[in-house]
């Protein structure tokens, strides 16, 4: 089985702070990490490989420094790593990102593609299903359990809004995974050594045989018009008195606001 994992290097948004006065993001000291959901995707790929044999490739599209996340993936046990990089990919929205990623996957081939549920910066959860559409293969989103992976199909449990479904997909297929799926392993010493010397294969639009107007900013139908920080909440009320008085006041307020 050949498995491709799509990983994105992201700023650790949990560490991002907002300067309320200027309304800007404070980036200083915020580390770049592998998108947390993608670490679960890597773990899933490695454990399938342990069962069925095969190879695991990690793929990312990003600036040259995204190489660091590919090396981290190798330290965990990933066999091959591909970095899609170049000026032509800058400013990509999800469609252009999916176009580039599906371009690499077509080149390197894969029976199963695993993505994170969503990236913690863009937060759209769109790239995975879009890659599947570009490749014309089935996909299953929000996978929380891999029940059975075989040569021709995969059986998984996916989260839905009101429970979950057991779903079978024929291979090749793409799945996007949630945190509940597994606990990512830590790198081994040998893995860390491998990561240092491993070759990261870099690819630009030319290698992927993609016209430059379908990737990056040019290939992106969506455009960010403006960014702003959500304003502080209004309507805060202080409750006064003893605990009992406060609770009485609260119940009255909730009745007034038609919350009860």
């Amino acid at each position: 089985m050949r498995i491709a994992v799509c990983i994105k290097q992201v700023p650790d948004t949990a560490e991002v702070k907002i300067n309320r006065e200027t309304g800007t993001l404070v980036r200083e000291g915020v580390p770049s990490i592998i998108n947390p959901y993608d670490t679960h995707a890597i773990e899933a790929a490695l454990s399938i490989k342990e069962q069925l044999g095969g190879t695991v490739c990690a793929v990312t599209m990003g600036p040259p420094q995204a190489e660091a996340s590919l090396r981290e993936a190798i330290s965990l046990g990933v066999d091959e790593a591909f970095l899609v990089t170049g000026r032509e990919f800058a400013g990509a929205d999800t469609l252009a990102t999916a176009c580039a990623l599906s371009g690499v996957i077509k080149k390197i081939g894969a029976d199963l593609i695993i993505c994170g549920k969503q990236a913690i910066d863009g937060d759209t959860a769109q790239v995975g299903p879009e890659v599947a559409e570009f490749l014309d293969i089935p996909h299953v989103s929000y996978v929380k359990k891999i029940i059975e992976a075989g040569a021709a199909s995969i059986k998984v449990e996916r989260m839905m809004d009101e429970g979950s479904d057991i779903v079978e997909a024929s291979l090749p297929a793409l799945i996007t995974v949630v945190r509940e799926l597994n606990t990512p392993r830590l790198p081994s010493l040998k893995g860390k050594m491998n990561a240092k010397k491993a070759e990261i294969k870099k690819m630009g639009a030319a290698e992927l045989e993609l016209p430059v107007d379908v990737v990056g900013f040019n290939g992106s139908p969506t455009q960010v018009k403006k960014i702003f920080t959500p304003g502080p909440r209004g309507g805060r009320k202080k409750l006064e008195g003893s605990l009992e008085e406060q609770i009485d006041a609260l119940v009255n307020e909730l009745v007034e606001k038609k919350c009860l």
Binding site: T13, V30, A90, E130, I166, P221, I227, F228, T229
Partner: protein, 400 residues
């Protein structure tokens, strides 16, 4: 690239470098340069005291407008689960009506699966037309048939705007439709508006785990597609006598390469966990001290007809399953009433619940950040506050 530095204004102070989440700005020869890794997030724009960072305007003249003019009308994908239309569909029809009015166009719904009578209901909720397919292939949700048939209908009828719920279903298959039609899709919108001079749809959504809001346009392609969070739009008026047209669509040649073998309803596990559609959420955190704490919250939830949520801390402790988790790595919710019990309010939790209408925080620690997000705060011990609140609510109910 649409962000440029005015070299005559830039002082090389580096303020923009510290706000850029992507390390995309460098100082060269004493002035800033925005490099190729710019993600256009525009975080830098307001950081510049000199006003040296500019947006270079998109050249709208180069957009083939004739093509865009062929697209008109607003469509709502009405999601059904187990044959029941999800409430978000009625909310989208309410919002879709406003957008359609602003564009002087019609409003259509699309319903795959469920009964023909449900299509009739969508008309009463505001649709002028409903494209309906009752084929068995839509009984359980699979991505490809929904994507295939919706794409076909869109290509045929050319709506200008297509909306769906930002639910497990909408967020999963709508990207396939966007990719097939090579058009833009904006995820998880919390507000929609028509831009006065261009008629484009301004789609506003949270990003960076809710730390910022972004307004997104898709000016070059049609349809403009968006998923919209449940509970943020208001359902329109239900008019029992409203008339409209149901157009039957067939699913000939539609295939699915995935198969649902079994559905596990959350009800089977004994709790309602549809947090996204809950009106009232009672959430517990580390302050509950253990599994038993959730028993106490259950009592409150039953009284208020609420659903149980949790912070990541409580989930990580194993006190309650992950499906209850609210926050950046769990669900984003916006109920009418959110009661946070023993939750400190880390930013990752706040981003998942701060758009709730009314937030009540109960916490021992008066400094807990949850109080900054709360509409009402009570500083006190949960074991005192909650039983007292339960008692007062019971008394009120009894008195009615």
């Amino acid at each position: 690239m649409p962000l440029k530095i005015d070299k005559t204004k830039c002082m090389g102070c580096g303020a923009c470098i510290t706000v850029c989440p992507y390390d995309a700005i460098v100082i060269e020869d004493g002035v800033a340069r925005i490099g190729e890794y710019c993600q256009l997030c525009q975080a830098c724009l307001s950081s510049c005291q000199e006003g040296a960072i500019m947006e270079s305007k998109v050249d709208y003249a180069s957009i083939p407008t004739e093509d865009l003019a062929a697209w008109s009308g607003v469509w709502v994908f009405a999601e059904q689960r187990g044959g029941k239309v999800a409430p978000v569909a009625f909310e989208l029809l309410g919002e879709g009506r406003k957008l359609a009015a602003a564009r002087g166009a019609g409003l259509c719904a699309v319903l795959f699966g469920a009964a023909r009578s449900d299509a009739q209901e969508l008309i009463k909720w505001g649709a002028d037309k409903v494209y309906y397919c009752g084929d068995d292939i839509f009984r359980e949700f699979t991505d490809e048939p929904n994507a295939e048939l919706l794409s076909r209908l869109i290509s045929m009828h050319k709506p200008e705007v297509v909306l769906a719920g930002a639910t497990a279903i909408g967020r999963s298959f709508l990207p396939r439709v966007a990719a097939r039609l090579k058009t833009g899709l904006t995820a998880d919108c919390t507000s929609l508006e028509i831009e006065a001079d261009t008629g484009n749809l301004i789609q506003t959504r949270p990003a960076y785990g809710g730390n910022i809001m972004a307004s997104i346009l898709s000016p070059r392609t049609r349809p403009q597609m968006a998923t919209v969070r449940p509970k943020v739009m208001k359902a329109g008026r239900y008019e029992p006598d409203r008339q409209g047209e149901i157009i039957d669509v067939d699913a000939a040649g539609i295939r699915a390469r995935t198969r649902v073998l079994e559905t596990i309803k959350a009800a089977d596990t004994g709790v309602n966990v549809n947090l996204q559609e809950a009106d009232v959420i009672i959430s517990g955190g580390r302050g509950l001290k253990g599994k038993e704490g959730f028993g106490m919250l259950n009592e409150l939830a039953q009284l208020l007809n609420g659903t149980i949520g949790a912070s990541r801390a409580a989930v990580d402790e194993g006190w309650i399953p992950y499906c209850h988790q609210v926050g950046q790595t769990g669900k984003t919710v916006c109920p009418k009433l959110y009661i946070a019990c023993g939750i400190s309010g880390a930013v990752q939790h706040l981003v998942g619940m701060q758009s709730s209408d009314v937030i009540v925080a109960i916490n021992k620690n008066p400094e807990a950040p949850i109080f900054t997000a709360a509409t009402y705060g009570i500083v006190g011990d949960l074991n005192e506050v909650i039983p007292l609140l339960v008692k007062k609510l019971r008394e009120r109910k009894g008195a009615q």
